[in-house]
Subunit: 434 residues, 2 copies
């Protein structure tokens, strides 16, 4: 099938609410390491796929999957060693109290279950979230995602949801250089917790991406999450860290984003990278919360925790460890950020460069003082880079943040190439900022 | 690892709300066709796994998965032929108007999306469901599942949910032999739709398993679903058929359970058997409903519709067709039901035998007049059969229905063997009914 035929069939048989990337859509037929290949064999450097975490089609993951698929794939009501071995290995990457695992099929299912856990354990219903956050595509998750309910087609904020300001030190009220910015933003969480309780609807949880992604690849200022978690616990609510986008070593220095901020959640949710593309997700929590949830109602997930999914999850952990991918994320990420910062010096459209490891954002503005978002420019750049064989995307409330979150096998040389091509694209007339 | 070690690690690292099957748990390490094998190589005839639909570890499915996993597994924002080919093939099995597909990772995600579709398309919120129904493990699905909210640990019926009586011609108010039973039960749906509207909360949807499973493998009386759908449409609501448990040819005469009742839904949800164990689900609906949902808000599912999942989905369709599994379900299912009916003649504990194809229930009662449920006996029988190498389970509001829903490669000879072993177990003193 050629691209036109595929597009025609998509029009007929696929819902219109699923968009296609780039002005000139890509027809991708093969993936390997940090590269995707189109029908003509042209390679594209993938800077955006945080799902194929250890590299597209990693042979160890493919082999583990194929071997287990041929042997057994059944549910978790029979005993099997994969699920317990995986639970043990996964728990070992997390702080001590997080030791009880629930396996599901996606990040959305993980956040759904986290919400059920928090509500059952606290006997409360409301939730505090961060502005511009995205937590999933189910009904309840859209309701907890300002990114969705405040966006196009959104129905606005439901009463049981309380939105704290995004801890954005570039565009928010407390900025780079303010040593108290972290505390100040955490007070925004405290204010929502207090207001919710005062309104007679105390929060069950503070649900936060450890490093906010859809909000524009925001790195919260020092102390933010730790302090926000303290306020949350003081209010009798549970701390839920959504690591669906950022987890599994991507931040370079730690397995988990919350560790960078020396904060420990009560519940952590995992998705996207966990199975290198295989539909897998997990919730890890404390024994006390898991026991409170065990109130007589069975939690059964048909596919979650099956021997194939767990074999894949184990292979992903093996590869991250054996290939030193966390350290690679640190090294390649530092090089990437340094290159982007250098670019920013000559291209004032790059207003801010931020990130942790291989989770990076470059925010584009038309004016460094007003921070007027360079939204159209961001889109033009991403499309121009695609023509040069480099895949990027945009995000953030103004869609003006270039989003970088490649497979962790991405190299420092790849980073140099992206920076160099970006330099050349930005030198084009269209992107001059007055 | 031996069973004790696995159980110990489950206690430590897995939530207690996940139960293990059978008094003496099974440690299963291999699967093939309709058989599971334990660590000692003992074979168990699997009469309950409606997920590994075309047989455990079917080589064509395993091969399709492995081949595509090694080639490409990325998201649906690039063009790829697998998703459109699969959408086309899947639509072709469904009645004409059902032609737009959304791919997700599980039946729960499918029902979640169906609810979002129905609510957006109707701008209404409430839902009519059938008593004892189960629709998934997310928050909203637990709220729509009397099986859960009325069960242990349940919080009761939410205000936005309206429960119609289960169309159970054995235990319900309108029974076998009543030619109007279907209409009467459908009037129960109409009554809920009317009451909801009168209370100022008109229903967005009537959500029903085409052939109710957790309610006890109920085959609704003739005309029920068709008439219930007419009432639903007259009330301005949408008809959602949950085919997660029963779909893909299991009923023997048709691809879908609703076809048996000559009813066509507006939205159909698919899960469990769709990927033979791979985490996959789908929602198929009309162009009009899909377009109404396309209101500006993107629906993106990270894993849903990826090339691997679609390759697996396609392989499952191929196997069903090439191996004539629908017809096999009809033949083996008829033999199974005939055998059970014969047993019922000599064992009055078997109060009712019902089913369609290889979706069968045998309801056990202590008294054929009062229908007192033989719950403990059902559990004892299932455990005794497990010792004889045959896997069954129980379900229904009283947990007294022996549930039969094997992989579709199950044979008439397998059915004979189960019936014969069951005869022998029932001849034991423990199961005598006065």
């Amino acid at each position: 099938m050629n691209s036109d035929e595929i597009l025609e069939l998509r029009d007929r048989h696929i819902g219109g609410s699923l968009s296609v990337s780039y002005r000139r859509p890509l027809h991708i037929v093969r993936g390997e390491r940090q590269f995707l290949f189109d029908t003509e064999g042209r390679a594209y450097l993938d800077c955006v796929n945080n799902v194929c975490h250890v590299g597209h089609c990693h042979p160890r993951v493919v082999e583990a999957a194929g071997k287990q698929m041929a042997l057994l794939n059944t549910n978790t009501r029979y005993l099997h060693e994969n699920i317990v071995e995986y639970a043990q290995r996964l728990s070992a990457t997390l702080p001590g109290p997080l030791e009880v695992c629930f396996f599901v099929c996606s990040g959305s299912e993980a956040n759904e279950l986290a919400l059920r856990l928090a509500r059952t354990a606290t006997d409360r219903r409301d939730v505090v979230v961060i502005d511009s956050a995205y937590h999933g595509n189910t009904g309840a998750m859209v309701e907890l995602s300002p990114y969705k309910f405040d966006g196009r087609g959104g129905a606005g904020k439901p009463d049981h949801v309380h939105v704290a300001p995004a801890p954005d030190p570039y565009r928010g009220p407390f900025r780079h250089g303010d040593p108290d910015a972290g505390e100040r933003y955490a007070e925004g969480v405290a204010a929502q917790l207090t207001a919710a309780a005062a309104a007679g609807r105390p929060a069950a949880a503070f649900l936060a991406e450890s490093v906010p992604g859809c909000a524009g690849q925001i790195v919260p200022p020092e102390g933010y999450l730790r302090s926000a978690f303290e306020h949350t616990r003081a209010a009798g609510a549970l701390c839920v860290a959504d690591e669906v986008q950022v987890g599994f070593g991507r931040v370079g220095t730690h397995w988990w984003g919350f560790e960078v901020q020396r904060a420990t959640p009560d519940i952590v949710t995992l998705g996207k990278p966990i199975g290198n593309g295989h539909p897998l997700g997990a919730v890890v929590t404390t024994r006390a919360i898991a026991d409170a949830f065990d109130n007589g109602m069975e939690y059964f997930n048909t596919f979650g925790g099956n021997p194939v999914s767990c074999a894949i999850g184990l292979a992903v952990l093996d590869v991250i460890e054996d290939e030193g991918l966390m350290e690679n994320a640190r090294v390649a990420g530092e090089r990437f950020q340094a290159g982007l910062r250098e670019l920013a010096a000559s291209h004032p459209i790059i207003g801010d460069v931020r990130g942790l490891g291989l989770f990076i954002g470059a925010e584009l503005v038309r004016d460094p003082d007003t921070l007027e978002p360079a939204t159209a420019e961001a889109s033009a750049i991403v499309n121009a880079m695609r023509e040069r064989g480099i895949l990027l995307s945009t995000d953030g409330p103004f869609d003006n943040v270039i989003k970088i979150k490649p497979p962790l096998v991405f190299t420092a040389e790849d980073a140099d190439r992206v920076v160099s091509e970006l330099d050349s694209v930005l030198a084009g007339e269209a992107f001059a900022v007055s």
